[in-house]
């Protein structure tokens, strides 16, 4: 059994980030519930945050941290607006099926 490395290698972080992002994409594509879709988006954003922080650590530069803070702020704002929209949609339609909200089609 090989000895454990001194610290966790970069590739592990990046792999985790890719897996999380893939889960987010899959959730966005396959789930019908708006709230789940919404959570999938958050998951993708945080996967990206993880890779930002990883590279920031690796390159010894602070830019990645600043980016991830920006992403968090935007995500918080988006969550506030998005949840409000979802609540309104549910109030008006009594459904959270994403394919039913299609009155702009045709």
């Amino acid at each position: 059994m090989p000895p454990l490395p001194q610290s966790v290698p970069i590739s592990w972080y990046l792999t985790l980030s890719a897996i999380l992002f893939g889960l987010g994409v899959a959730g966005f594509l396959y789930r019908r519930n708006i709230i789940t879709v919404f959570m999938s988006i958050e998951l993708m954003l945080n996967a990206v945050n993880l890779s930002f922080v990883t590279f920031s650590y690796k390159l010894k530069q602070v830019d990645g941290h600043i980016f991830s803070f920006f992403v968090m702020v935007v995500a918080a704002a988006e969550a506030a607006v998005g949840l409000a929209i979802i609540l309104t949609v549910f109030k008006n339609r009594q459904t959270l099926e994403i394919d039913e909200v299609s009155s702009l089609r045709n």
Binding site: V25, F28, L29, D99, S102, L104, R105
Partner: protein, 621 residues
């Protein structure tokens, strides 16, 4: 000397009446329209007086030019806005503004009850503006501007009663037929520009004067003939005269001003203006004379059998314009201009008098429904008689002097031309007096109650009558001598006697046919029925043009240009592009499902594609 004021006065009148005329009271429209032309006339008098024209002597032997500004500068060609007065222009200015003013005054009475009063006067003033630009312009292009402008006003005024189909048709006909002439004229201007490098009259004629007459190159003949094409269109000569008789659809003062006294003489003016060019091409001069003589003769024969009083005078105008061209073509340019002036007097008078008759009969124009009017409308009768003796060439009235000059020149050029001219003079006297006798003698054959015209109408008639009688003593040929040398050798005395006898004979024959024994005319017409119906139908020229030109053009436009080119090619191309775009869009719209997950899937697929390409290219490492 402020020459520019001469055309600008009527232009201001046009602008005021055209912009505000709808709201102005009638009196104000009268004052603006007539006043602007009067100012223009007075300014002409003042200018000519300042130039010493009325003092006699050798004033104005060279042109007086005023330069305002450069209009077009392109390469070596330089065209300016220049106005110029020389002796020829002086005659034209007096005729245009003088006769124009009288006709404006007359129109106040004639148009009093017509709709579109302000529109009429603004057009009339606009016409005066363009006509004055035409005669004052010091280069070919400025002349052309006036030339086209008067054509436009002619079109607008012929179609003045635009609710009537025949009036708008006549307007279109005049405009379209004139296009043919203007095409030739513009080609002539291009040729002048190419060969002389300038369009300025002074420079062009100065250059050509120094060229040897014997060895003049072919392009001078080309320029002369193309200018003649323009003149033929504007001055209604064979083969383009057909628009002028139809132009009588306009109000009668318009017929008098534009289609008798001024605009139609623009062609004569232009040929006289370009006399230096013509003198270098005897061939072109011969063509001018032959065109003029043919027109004079054939138009006179048509005039013999017309029943519409205005049509008679219209064909008479065509015929007299032909006379002027005979004068020009036989080298007697000053005689042509002299006849232009006297013709402006007596033909304007004939038309205005005819208008007075029509006015008296509430719109009746057919000679067969007139008769015996000399008691009811005596002033009109006497003034028209003055015009009649003037146009018939009875000495010592104005037409006699100018016609005599032309016939003498024709005789010296070629005796047969003189004899055709004499025959034409005979017919002229006959048809004019036929119209006058049918109108004023015998029994009244109409239903309307005739009434004499107001003073505002017969005043101008009286002035024009005086000019028609005495205008021959204005010695125009002598005045124009510095520009057009007089022909050598006085005419033989017997030439005068023969032409006078022809005129008097025509009057006598008309008297015999239409007053003394009216039955004779009908039996004569029956005896020569074929000939009569030929000239009654104007030689079927309109029908001929219709069959050979108008129909092919209309049919060709309809089948080839409209259904073929327009519908097939142009519409086909536009609609085809539309269909193709629709087809492509139809395919692409399948991608736009409206499901957000589909779009996300496309994005994922795109991202994977990009990453795969970077990976394959061995990129970011």
């Amino acid at each position: 000397m402020q020459l520019w004021l001469i055309p600008v006065f009527p232009f201001v009148g046009f602008a005021l009446n055209g912009l505000f005329g709808r709201k102005l009271p009638k009196r104000a429209i009268d004052v603006i329209a007539v006043g602007s032309v009067l100012l223009s006339f007075l300014w002409v008098l003042k200018t000519l007086n300042a130039l010493g024209v009325f003092a006699g002597g050798n004033a104005l032997e060279t042109a007086y030019v005023e330069h305002y500004f450069t209009w077009i500068q392109s390469g070596t060609l330089n065209v300016s806005i220049d106005l110029a007065v020389d002796r020829l222009t002086a005659v034209m200015l007096m005729v245009v503004t003088g006769v124009g003013f009288l006709i404006h005054v007359y129109s106040v009475g004639y148009m009093a009850d017509e709709g579109g009063y302000y529109r009429f006067f603004s057009y009339l003033n606009l016409f005066m503006f363009f006509m004055l630009v035409l005669v004052l312009g010091a280069n070919f292009l400025l002349l052309f501007v006036g030339w086209e402008g008067v054509g436009l006003c002619s079109y607008l005024l012929i179609g003045f009663y635009f609710l009537e189909k025949f009036a708008t048709d006549a307007g279109n006909k005049a405009f379209i037929v004139n296009r043919i002439g203007d095409f030739g004229f513009s080609l002539a201007i291009f040729l002048v520009g190419i060969h002389f490098g300038s369009l300025d009259f002074g420079r062009v004629f100065g250059q050509i004067r120094d060229m040897p007459v014997e060895a003049s190159p072919g392009w001078i003949t080309a320029i002369s003939l193309l200018l003649l094409v323009g003149a033929i269109g504007k001055s209604a000569q064979i083969p383009l005269y057909v628009w002028l008789p139809d132009a009588m659809a306009g109000p009668t003062p318009v017929s008098a001003l534009i289609h008798a006294a001024t605009m139609v003489t623009a062609g004569v003016y232009m040929v006289a203006r370009s006399s230096q060019i013509y003198l270098h091409s005897t061939f072109a001069l011969d063509i001018v004379a032959i065109v003029g003589l043919t027109t004079a003769f054939f138009a006179a024969t048509i005039g013999l059998a017309q029943n519409d009083i205005k049509k008679v005078f219209a064909y008479s105008t065509v015929s007299q314009l032909g006379y002027m061209f005979v004068g020009l073509g036989t080298g007697a340019f000053s005689a042509g201009i002299f006849h232009l002036m006297t013709h402006a007097f007596f033909k304007a008078l004939l038309f205005l008098g005819a208008g007075s008759v029509i006015h008296a009969l509430s719109g009746e124009q057919d000679l067969r429904h007139m008769g015996g009017l000399r008691k009811q409308i005596p002033i009109t009768f006497w003034t028209l008689m003055c015009a009649g003796v003037a146009i018939a060439g009875v000495p010592p009235f104005s037409g006699f002097h100018s016609k005599d000059e032309i016939l003498a020149a024709a005789y010296h050029h070629a005796p047969w031309m003189y004899w055709v001219g004499v025959l034409t003079a005979f017919m002229t006297a006959f048809y004019v007096f036929r119209a006058l006798f049918l109108c004023f003698f015998g029994e009244y054959r109409g239903e309307h109650h005739p009434h004499e015209s107001p003073v505002v109408m017969w005043g101008p008639l009286a002035v024009l009558a005086a000019l028609s009688l005495a205008g021959g003593y204005i010695n125009v040929p002598r005045f124009l001598e510095p520009m057009f040398p007089l022909a050598e050798g006085g005419g033989d005395q017997w030439l005068v006697y023969v032409s006078v006898a022809a005129g008097l004979g025509g009057i006598a024959l008309a008297y015999l046919f239409y007053v003394a024994s009216p039955k004779l005319a009908d039996s004569f017409a029956n005896a020569f029925h074929a000939l009569y119906s030929l000239i009654y139908n104007k030689y079927f020229v309109d029908e001929l043009y219709d069959a050979t030109v108008v129909r092919p053009v209309v049919d060709g436009s309809r089948t080839l240009l409209w259904r073929g080119v327009d519908v097939g090619v142009i519409d086909g191309a536009v609609n085809g592009i539309g269909h193709r775009a629709r087809g492509i869009g139809g395919v692409l719209r399948l991608a736009q499902s409206g499901y957000i997950r589909n779009y996300a899937a496309w994005m994922v697929a795109g991202a994977i594609l990009v990453i795969a390409m970077i990976g394959l290219a061995g990129g970011a490492r």
